[in-house]
Amino acid sequence: MKHIVKSMTLTLAAVVVLLPANAMAQVSGVQTWSQRCGSCHQQQPANRYTAERWESVVSHMELIAHLTSEQTAAVLEFLKSGAQEVAAQEAKESGSLTVASLDGLFLPQSPTGEEVYEQNCVPCHGKSGKGDGPAAVAFDPPPSDFTDPEGTKSLEEMLEIIKEGRAGMPAYGATLSPEELEAVAEYILNL
């Protein structure tokens, strides 16, 4: 048994020493969130916690999910960008120890297209839809500019893209209801 433990220790040491620290291409927060968080549990919406609390949660998940430091920073930026600043302010005012916000625990019955857009699309596409959200820098090619006339899509085409995802954008077909999909597609087409 000792030789197994010794071999494992040597392998660990070799890998840690030899691995290049920055071998990975630019990391996408939304992709990491989609691929790594969603592989074990339901993806939690960005507005579930305040930005401050996301720091605590992501620090924990960095340890549990073995995220690289770069992945941790990217996914934290993505989630913080969607966090509710109102709750953050409330947490600061009420003291250092606070119960986690229940926002997002129960989904609204009929969110508007704008609400769905703000919860899911703003981090990458930006509030104005120009593809300039805070997480846009991680994408190559960059997120679509919905205000560009050359990129005009039909409702059916837009629905297909949102459902299936493309070029680093996660698919939302399984996470949004048909009503939410249609609402957000219409909202995007009117930006």
Partner: protein, 350 residues
């Protein structure tokens, strides 16, 4: 395994370093948050038995987690478990982690031992896709097994998209009576320090894993080994090996784990094997059917068991779920319908 003065010295140095970090002048509870998960179960067991079935309510978990960055790169996490309506109360884990190094973390305290995936990552009821644990993670690897010691972990980039993960730990270890059930080996019995068992005999192990997101795959291997009984004439070693794999694509999740335990005993060494294969498919935002087959192979044929489980999950929200499970249990002697179990559960993370 006997690891004496060198190990003790190393442990002392690391513990002292962590303690110094914790005592840094700017120590303050910054961003600590309270979270956790709770569930309620209604179970009908012995379905179809002549003597009648049993119907039981349980508040299986109401576990409260406190976590946050407390000072600089020092992170703290603790989970207080209230299980079975408060009949079992304990500290599931409570540790400090230094996060200041690139891709690499050092933790000290009581942590869930990073062996395989179900024990450390998947057992919380709001994450576990079925109501209870599969065979292999009760009487073989005693999930949930947390212990006191030092834990090194990290995630490292490997090429353009893949990552390599590592865990290595040294803990007090599982200890118990010669040849008895492993599940009873848990605990941090400081009284055993008096005979030297806790001082000198530490358990070591870890997990190496790979995550290949473009292939929708992650997999790894785990080991744990340590002395499990301290006799005057000999040490008795307990060793676990485990392999795990997960395929995840477009709402489909296929997961498998297999573990073995080699338990030395004066009455003859014991070899135990178990594992599970589970498939789940989230067809839309609300509905997710699940199937799981799990098995355990224990010394003595009468202890062998297998279970085929059918489940249906309804997601009320990203953290709240209603689960319905039906377990078809098979003993070594053959199918016995009266052993079947029907369970309904509501669980939520909060």
């Amino acid at each position: 395994m006997r690891i004496k003065s060198g190990m003790r010295a190393a442990c002392s140095v690391i513990a002292a370093a962590v303690a110094m970090l914790a005592m840094s002048p700017d120590l303050s509870a910054q961003g600590l948050m309270v979270t956790g998960y709770a569930d309620f179960e209604a179970t009908v067991s012995n379905v179809g038995a002549d003597a009648g079935s049993n119907f039981f309510f349980d508040n299986h978990h109401f576990n409260v987690v406190v976590l946050g960055n407390v000072a600089g790169d020092l992170f703290a996490a603790a989970e207080v478990e209230y299980e079975h309506a408060g009949e079992e109360i304990g500290l599931e884990y409570g540790y400090l982690t230094y996060r200041g190094a690139e891709n690499f973390r050092v933790s000290a305290g009581k942590f869930i031992v990073p062996f395989g995936r179900f024990n450390k990552d998947l057992h919380p009821t709001w994450i576990n896709k079925m109501v209870d644990r599969p065979h292999g993670f009760r009487d073989i690897f005693p999930q949930t097994y947390s212990d006191v010691g030092i834990w090194l972990s990290g995630g490292f980039p490997l090429g353009d998209d893949a990552t390599f993960s590592m865990d290595a730990f040294v803990v007090n270890g599982l200890m118990g009576e010669d040849g008895s059930g492993i599940r009873g080996f848990r605990g941090n019995d400081r009284e055993k320090q008096s005979d030297g068992a806790r001082d000198d005999n530490k358990a070591v192990g870890g997990r190496l894993g790979f995550v290949l997101p473009n292939q929708h795959l992650d997999f790894g291997g785990s080991v744990y080994t340590g002395n499990s009984a301290d006799l005057s004439t000999q040490d008795l070693t307990l060793t676990f090996f485990g392999v795990d794999a997960h395929y995840f694509y477009e709402g489909l999740s296929i997961r498998a784990e297999f573990i073995t335990a080699d338990q030395e005993a004066t009455g003859g060494d014991l070899r135990k094997k178990g594992g599970y294969l589970q498939a789940a498919y989230q067809a839309n935002r609300n509905w997710e059917p699940v199937v799981r087959f799990s098995v355990r192979d224990m010394p003595g044929e009468s202890s062998d068991q297998s279970r085929f489980s059918l489940g249906l999950n309804y997601y009320i929200s990203p953290a709240g779920t209603v689960r319905l499970n039906y377990h078809i249990n098979t003993e070594e002697t053959g199918f016995e319908s009266e052993n079947n179990v029907l369970i309904a559960q509501f669980v939520t993370g909060f």
